[in-house]
Symmetry: none
Subunit: 119 residues, 2 copies
Amino acid sequence: MACMSPQLDNTFHALADPTRRAILSMLLEDDMAVTDVAEPFEMSLTAISKHLGILSRAGLISQERRGRVKWCKLEPDALRDASIWMQSFGQFEAVNLDAFEKFLAAELSSGDAASGEDG
Amino acid sequence: MACMSPQLDNTFHALADPTRRAILSMLLEDDMAVTDVAEPFEMSLTAISKHLGILSRAGLISQERRGRVKWCKLEPDALRDASIWMQSFGQFEAVNLDAFEKFLAAELSSGDAASGEDG
DNA sequence: GGCATATTCAACCAAATGGTTGACGAACGA
DNA sequence: TCGTTCGTCAACCATTTGGTTGAATATGCC
Protein backbone atom coordinates (compact mmCIF):
# COMPACT_ATOMS: atom_id res chain seq x y z
CA MET A 1 0.00 0.00 0.00
CA ALA A 2 1.30 3.39 -0.96
CA CYS A 3 0.08 4.84 2.30
CA MET A 4 2.61 2.73 4.25
CA SER A 5 5.61 4.46 2.73
CA PRO A 6 8.10 5.47 5.44
CA GLN A 7 9.07 8.33 3.15
CA LEU A 8 5.59 9.76 3.69
CA ASP A 9 6.05 9.20 7.42
CA ASN A 10 9.17 11.32 7.38
CA THR A 11 7.75 14.00 5.15
CA PHE A 12 4.53 14.51 7.08
CA HIS A 13 6.25 14.27 10.44
CA ALA A 14 8.73 16.91 9.34
CA LEU A 15 5.87 19.14 8.18
CA ALA A 16 3.92 18.70 11.42
CA ASP A 17 6.09 21.18 13.30
CA PRO A 18 5.53 24.94 12.87
CA THR A 19 9.20 25.74 13.37
CA ARG A 20 10.13 23.41 10.56
CA ARG A 21 7.44 24.81 8.28
CA ALA A 22 8.72 28.30 9.04
CA ILE A 23 12.22 27.16 8.14
CA LEU A 24 10.97 25.82 4.83
CA SER A 25 9.27 29.14 4.17
CA MET A 26 12.53 30.95 4.78
CA LEU A 27 14.43 28.61 2.50
CA LEU A 28 11.87 29.26 -0.18
CA GLU A 29 13.39 32.71 -0.54
CA ASP A 30 16.99 31.66 -0.63
CA ASP A 31 19.58 29.16 0.54
CA MET A 32 20.76 29.93 4.06
CA ALA A 33 23.46 29.06 6.54
CA VAL A 34 22.40 27.21 9.68
CA THR A 35 23.16 30.21 11.89
CA ASP A 36 21.06 32.48 9.72
CA VAL A 37 18.20 30.02 9.74
CA ALA A 38 18.34 30.01 13.54
CA GLU A 39 18.51 33.78 13.91
CA PRO A 40 14.77 34.67 13.95
CA PHE A 41 13.87 31.87 16.36
CA GLU A 42 13.90 32.12 20.12
CA MET A 43 15.53 28.78 20.38
CA SER A 44 19.04 27.44 20.67
CA LEU A 45 21.19 26.81 17.62
CA THR A 46 21.28 23.16 18.63
CA ALA A 47 17.51 22.95 18.44
CA ILE A 48 17.50 24.45 14.96
CA SER A 49 20.29 22.13 13.93
CA LYS A 50 18.11 19.21 14.99
CA HIS A 51 15.14 20.57 13.06
CA LEU A 52 17.34 20.90 10.00
CA GLY A 53 18.46 17.31 10.50
CA ILE A 54 14.86 16.18 10.50
CA LEU A 55 14.06 18.19 7.38
CA SER A 56 17.16 16.77 5.76
CA ARG A 57 16.33 13.16 6.64
CA ALA A 58 12.89 13.76 5.17
CA GLY A 59 14.56 14.95 1.99
CA LEU A 60 12.83 18.31 2.25
CA ILE A 61 16.12 20.15 2.32
CA SER A 62 19.70 19.37 1.42
CA GLN A 63 22.76 20.64 3.24
CA GLU A 64 26.14 21.39 1.74
CA ARG A 65 29.18 22.41 3.72
CA ARG A 66 31.35 25.12 2.24
CA GLY A 67 34.16 26.02 4.58
CA ARG A 68 32.81 26.67 8.02
CA VAL A 69 29.35 27.33 6.70
CA LYS A 70 26.72 24.69 6.02
CA TRP A 71 24.23 25.86 3.44
CA CYS A 72 20.64 24.71 3.55
CA LYS A 73 18.63 24.40 0.38
CA LEU A 74 14.98 23.61 -0.17
CA GLU A 75 14.38 20.31 -1.96
CA PRO A 76 10.78 20.35 -3.13
CA ASP A 77 10.64 16.82 -4.52
CA ALA A 78 9.64 15.19 -1.25
CA LEU A 79 6.95 17.82 -0.87
CA ARG A 80 5.75 17.05 -4.31
CA ASP A 81 5.34 13.36 -3.55
CA ALA A 82 3.39 14.09 -0.39
CA SER A 83 1.27 16.61 -2.23
CA ILE A 84 0.40 14.04 -4.86
CA TRP A 85 -0.58 11.60 -2.16
CA MET A 86 -2.83 14.18 -0.57
CA GLN A 87 -4.45 15.17 -3.78
CA SER A 88 -5.55 11.60 -4.25
CA PHE A 89 -7.93 12.34 -1.40
CA GLY A 90 -8.68 15.98 -1.95
CA GLN A 91 -9.58 15.79 -5.57
CA PHE A 92 -9.78 12.20 -6.70
CA GLU A 93 -12.26 10.94 -4.21
CA ALA A 94 -13.85 8.57 -6.63
CA VAL A 95 -10.66 7.47 -8.28
CA ASN A 96 -9.26 4.00 -8.19
CA LEU A 97 -6.27 3.94 -5.85
CA ASP A 98 -4.59 1.05 -7.60
CA ALA A 99 -4.43 3.08 -10.75
CA PHE A 100 -3.14 6.03 -8.83
CA GLU A 101 -0.42 3.95 -7.24
CA LYS A 102 0.64 2.67 -10.62
CA PHE A 103 0.75 6.23 -11.80
CA LEU A 104 2.94 7.19 -8.85
CA ALA A 105 5.24 4.27 -9.46
CA ALA A 106 5.63 5.23 -13.08
CA GLU A 107 6.24 8.86 -12.16
CA LEU A 108 8.76 8.04 -9.47
CA SER A 109 10.66 5.38 -11.35
CA SER A 110 11.29 7.84 -14.12
CA GLY A 111 13.08 10.07 -11.66
CA ASP A 112 14.21 8.04 -8.65
CA ALA A 113 14.24 4.29 -9.06
CA ALA A 114 15.55 3.66 -5.56
CA SER A 115 12.54 4.87 -3.61
CA GLY A 116 11.41 1.69 -1.89
CA GLU A 117 7.70 1.60 -2.06
CA ASP A 118 5.71 -1.21 -0.56
CA GLY A 119 8.39 -1.80 2.00
CA MET B 1 2.65 33.54 9.27
CA ALA B 2 0.56 30.97 7.49
CA CYS B 3 3.01 28.24 8.33
CA MET B 4 2.29 28.60 12.07
CA SER B 5 -1.28 27.37 11.76
CA PRO B 6 -2.08 24.79 14.45
CA GLN B 7 -4.58 23.32 12.00
CA LEU B 8 -1.66 22.41 9.77
CA ASP B 9 0.08 20.97 12.83
CA ASN B 10 -2.87 18.68 13.41
CA THR B 11 -3.31 17.73 9.79
CA PHE B 12 0.31 16.87 9.12
CA HIS B 13 0.71 15.13 12.44
CA ALA B 14 -2.34 13.02 11.71
CA LEU B 15 -0.94 12.14 8.30
CA ALA B 16 2.48 11.24 9.67
CA ASP B 17 1.32 7.85 10.89
CA PRO B 18 1.00 4.93 8.44
CA THR B 19 -1.90 3.39 10.35
CA ARG B 20 -3.84 6.63 10.07
CA ARG B 21 -3.05 6.96 6.38
CA ALA B 22 -4.22 3.40 5.87
CA ILE B 23 -7.43 4.24 7.68
CA LEU B 24 -7.97 7.20 5.38
CA SER B 25 -7.41 4.93 2.40
CA MET B 26 -10.05 2.56 3.69
CA LEU B 27 -12.51 5.38 4.25
CA LEU B 28 -11.91 6.50 0.71
CA GLU B 29 -13.89 3.49 -0.41
CA ASP B 30 -16.79 3.86 1.96
CA ASP B 31 -17.92 5.02 5.37
CA MET B 32 -17.12 2.48 8.06
CA ALA B 33 -17.90 1.58 11.66
CA VAL B 34 -15.05 1.80 14.17
CA THR B 35 -14.96 -1.97 14.62
CA ASP B 36 -14.73 -2.52 10.87
CA VAL B 37 -11.97 0.03 10.56
CA ALA B 38 -10.04 -1.83 13.26
CA GLU B 39 -10.54 -5.27 11.77
CA PRO B 40 -7.57 -5.45 9.35
CA PHE B 41 -5.08 -4.06 11.89
CA GLU B 42 -3.14 -6.13 14.39
CA MET B 43 -3.85 -3.64 17.07
CA SER B 44 -6.40 -3.20 19.82
CA LEU B 45 -9.71 -1.52 19.14
CA THR B 46 -8.73 1.12 21.68
CA ALA B 47 -5.65 2.00 19.66
CA ILE B 48 -7.74 2.40 16.51
CA SER B 49 -10.26 4.45 18.44
CA LYS B 50 -7.45 6.80 19.44
CA HIS B 51 -6.22 7.04 15.86
CA LEU B 52 -9.74 7.90 14.76
CA GLY B 53 -9.86 10.56 17.47
CA ILE B 54 -6.69 12.11 16.10
CA LEU B 55 -8.00 12.03 12.55
CA SER B 56 -11.24 13.54 13.78
CA ARG B 57 -9.53 16.34 15.71
CA ALA B 58 -7.56 17.10 12.58
CA GLY B 59 -10.82 17.35 10.69
CA LEU B 60 -9.75 14.62 8.30
CA ILE B 61 -12.74 12.48 9.19
CA SER B 62 -16.08 13.02 10.84
CA GLN B 63 -17.84 10.58 13.10
CA GLU B 64 -21.55 10.15 13.48
CA ARG B 65 -23.16 7.84 15.97
CA ARG B 66 -26.17 5.86 14.78
CA GLY B 67 -27.40 3.54 17.46
CA ARG B 68 -24.51 1.52 18.84
CA VAL B 69 -22.43 2.14 15.78
CA LYS B 70 -20.22 5.15 15.18
CA TRP B 71 -19.73 5.76 11.49
CA CYS B 72 -16.51 7.26 10.21
CA LYS B 73 -16.51 9.35 7.08
CA LEU B 74 -13.65 10.87 5.14
CA GLU B 75 -13.59 14.68 5.16
CA PRO B 76 -11.23 15.75 2.40
CA ASP B 77 -11.40 19.48 3.08
CA ALA B 78 -8.67 19.53 5.73
CA LEU B 79 -6.47 17.64 3.33
CA ARG B 80 -7.15 20.18 0.69
CA ASP B 81 -5.99 23.00 2.97
CA ALA B 82 -2.74 21.23 3.70
CA SER B 83 -2.34 20.44 0.05
CA ILE B 84 -2.78 24.10 -0.79
CA TRP B 85 -0.13 25.00 1.77
CA MET B 86 2.25 22.58 0.13
CA GLN B 87 1.52 23.97 -3.28
CA SER B 88 2.61 27.37 -2.03
CA PHE B 89 6.04 25.90 -2.42
CA GLY B 90 5.20 26.01 -6.08
CA GLN B 91 8.64 25.12 -7.23
CA PHE B 92 7.48 21.68 -8.13
CA GLU B 93 5.20 21.07 -11.03
CA ALA B 94 1.89 21.56 -9.30
CA VAL B 95 0.70 18.03 -9.14
CA ASN B 96 0.28 16.91 -12.61
CA LEU B 97 -3.41 16.25 -12.80
CA ASP B 98 -3.35 16.22 -16.56
CA ALA B 99 -0.69 13.56 -16.54
CA PHE B 100 -2.71 11.44 -14.17
CA GLU B 101 -5.82 11.75 -16.28
CA LYS B 102 -3.90 10.77 -19.37
CA PHE B 103 -2.46 7.89 -17.44
CA LEU B 104 -5.95 6.78 -16.48
CA ALA B 105 -7.10 7.04 -20.07
CA ALA B 106 -4.12 5.00 -21.24
CA GLU B 107 -4.78 2.39 -18.56
CA LEU B 108 -8.38 2.06 -19.58
CA SER B 109 -7.68 1.76 -23.26
CA SER B 110 -4.89 -0.78 -22.77
CA GLY B 111 -6.88 -2.81 -20.22
CA ASP B 112 -9.96 -2.41 -22.37
CA ALA B 113 -13.31 -3.39 -20.89
CA ALA B 114 -11.52 -5.88 -18.64
CA SER B 115 -11.32 -3.37 -15.82
CA GLY B 116 -13.48 -4.78 -13.09
CA GLU B 117 -12.28 -1.99 -10.84
CA ASP B 118 -15.54 -0.10 -10.60
CA GLY B 119 -15.33 3.51 -9.42
C1' DG C 1 -34.30 -8.32 32.78
C1' DG C 2 -30.14 -10.17 31.02
C1' DC C 3 -26.68 -10.81 27.78
C1' DA C 4 -24.01 -9.59 23.63
C1' DT C 5 -22.14 -5.84 20.79
C1' DA C 6 -19.86 -1.32 19.98
C1' DT C 7 -17.03 2.07 21.70
C1' DT C 8 -14.65 4.79 25.05
C1' DC C 9 -12.32 5.65 29.51
C1' DA C 10 -8.54 5.23 32.88
C1' DA C 11 -4.32 3.81 34.07
C1' DC C 12 -0.19 2.46 32.74
C1' DC C 13 4.20 1.74 29.85
C1' DA C 14 8.30 2.30 26.61
C1' DA C 15 9.94 5.06 23.25
C1' DA C 16 10.23 9.25 20.74
C1' DT C 17 9.99 14.36 20.61
C1' DG C 18 11.46 19.02 21.26
C1' DG C 19 13.99 21.46 24.06
C1' DT C 20 18.17 22.73 27.14
C1' DT C 21 23.31 23.21 28.39
C1' DG C 22 28.25 22.54 28.03
C1' DA C 23 32.00 20.67 25.57
C1' DC C 24 33.97 19.82 21.29
C1' DG C 25 36.18 19.93 16.39
C1' DA C 26 36.86 22.42 12.23
C1' DA C 27 37.57 26.45 9.60
C1' DC C 28 38.73 31.23 9.27
C1' DG C 29 41.38 35.63 10.14
C1' DA C 30 44.56 38.68 12.72
C1' DT D 1 49.47 30.78 17.04
C1' DC D 2 45.31 32.42 19.20
C1' DG D 3 40.85 33.76 19.47
C1' DT D 4 36.36 33.66 17.07
C1' DT D 5 32.78 31.78 14.50
C1' DC D 6 30.05 27.77 12.79
C1' DG D 7 27.91 23.76 13.74
C1' DT D 8 27.42 19.21 16.02
C1' DC D 9 27.72 15.94 19.83
C1' DA D 10 26.49 14.06 24.34
C1' DA D 11 23.85 14.09 28.15
C1' DC D 12 19.93 15.30 30.22
C1' DC D 13 14.88 16.72 30.97
C1' DA D 14 9.66 17.14 30.54
C1' DT D 15 6.08 16.03 27.59
C1' DT D 16 3.84 13.55 24.05
C1' DT D 17 3.14 9.45 21.41
C1' DG D 18 1.46 4.99 20.24
C1' DG D 19 0.47 1.11 22.32
C1' DT D 20 -1.47 -2.13 26.09
C1' DT D 21 -5.12 -3.97 29.47
C1' DG D 22 -9.34 -4.03 32.15
C1' DA D 23 -13.35 -1.66 33.45
C1' DA D 24 -17.18 1.20 32.14
C1' DT D 25 -20.96 3.00 29.19
C1' DA D 26 -24.31 2.78 25.72
C1' DT D 27 -27.21 0.43 22.70
C1' DG D 28 -29.62 -3.53 20.70
C1' DC D 29 -31.81 -8.11 20.92
C1' DC D 30 -34.09 -12.24 23.03
